[in-house]
Symmetry: C2
Subunit: 188 residues, 2 copies
């Protein structure tokens, strides 16, 4: 996307979040979002297929960065450790998106259709992570289980970081993987 | 629910699955489902709030059995081991539901709205499992991480059992927890 496209896209996101906060998700139209962002409704639909998608605009960036980070882990690293290392590379994006996340999470919670879309996006991300692990030579069986458990660990770390207002997401990532390790010790 | 209610409910489920297979999900109405089951449409809506829900009718039974099985694990059992033991108690229900699952999964895959509802139900089940672990004295932090990872393991076991057409879900449950154990050994 050219630089101008990205600027318009971010303006539309910002306008949508403001309007959703002011009038609720159901009380806002794409016409109003476009007007607030100073573009036509047609431009809105060039960037987002429907009203819901504007809330999920960072997903694509998150997906691409996650894939790249996994690919960049040194070959031969065990799969779950590889994910832990890769997630540290994704931390800056999550930190940068925090202001957006703080507005969008309460909005998503108010509408079942939005929450369901959120779950579907999370499931799609697991598929992407599994594919990235397969590209590193893991079997599909191992890749899927590792992707599921790894994404749970990462989203738990983000949730703790949001809930506890702790300062450092890197620290939460390390801690959740330590917790995971100690949880499984009972399985011997 | 009285026994008669359960019979009607199962007849409605069966009728819905037949019609969805014949005409697709979008090509079927609740009127047709009720007619095929030999009841009025009003009876349909006494059992299910909308057309989607008829596909998720076993969820409630699964949720109740999961909660009971977790509560029945001997006190003092480590949380992830407790889940593994509890899932063995849920296996017979999953095995019994296989004919239904074989019809409903391909239907759910065809409609994004159904798939999103499926994800939301899975997320709700994680919340239920976490609450059951808290009732056993686990902290909310430990309960949530354990519930997420445990449900990942169980759904992976079910998926492998469905994909590989292997005979024994108990065996798949044991194996996926062994895999989980060995995955986390790289984290030391």
């Amino acid at each position: 996307m050219p630089r101008d496209g990205r600027v318009v896209r971010e303006r539309l996101q910002q306008a949508a979040l403001e309007l959703f906060s002011e009038h609720g998700y159901d009380g806002t139209t794409t016409t109003q979002i476009a007007a607030r962002a100073g573009v036509t409704e047609r431009t809105y639909f060039r960037h987002f297929p429907d009203k819901r998608e504007v809330l999920f605009a960072t997903e694509e960036e998150l997906r691409d960065l996650t894939t790249t980070s996994i690919a960049n882990v040194p070959p031969g690293t065990a799969p779950l450790l590889a994910l832990k290392m890769a997630f540290h590379g994704v931390v800056p994006l999550v930190e940068r998106s925090r202001p957006l996340a703080e507005i969008r999470i309460p909005i998503i919670m108010t509408a079942p259709a939005l929450l369901e879309r959120e779950y579907a996006k999370a499931a799609a991300l697991v598929t992407v992570v599994a594919a990235a692990l397969e590209a590193r030579g893991e079997t599909p069986r191992t890749a899927l289980l590792t992707a599921r458990v790894g994404m749970d660990a990462f989203s738990t770390a983000i949730r703790r970081w949001n809930t506890d207002h702790s300062g450092d997401l890197h620290h939460e990532v390390d801690e959740v993987f330590r917790d995971l390790r100690s949880l499984t010790q009972s399985l011997d």
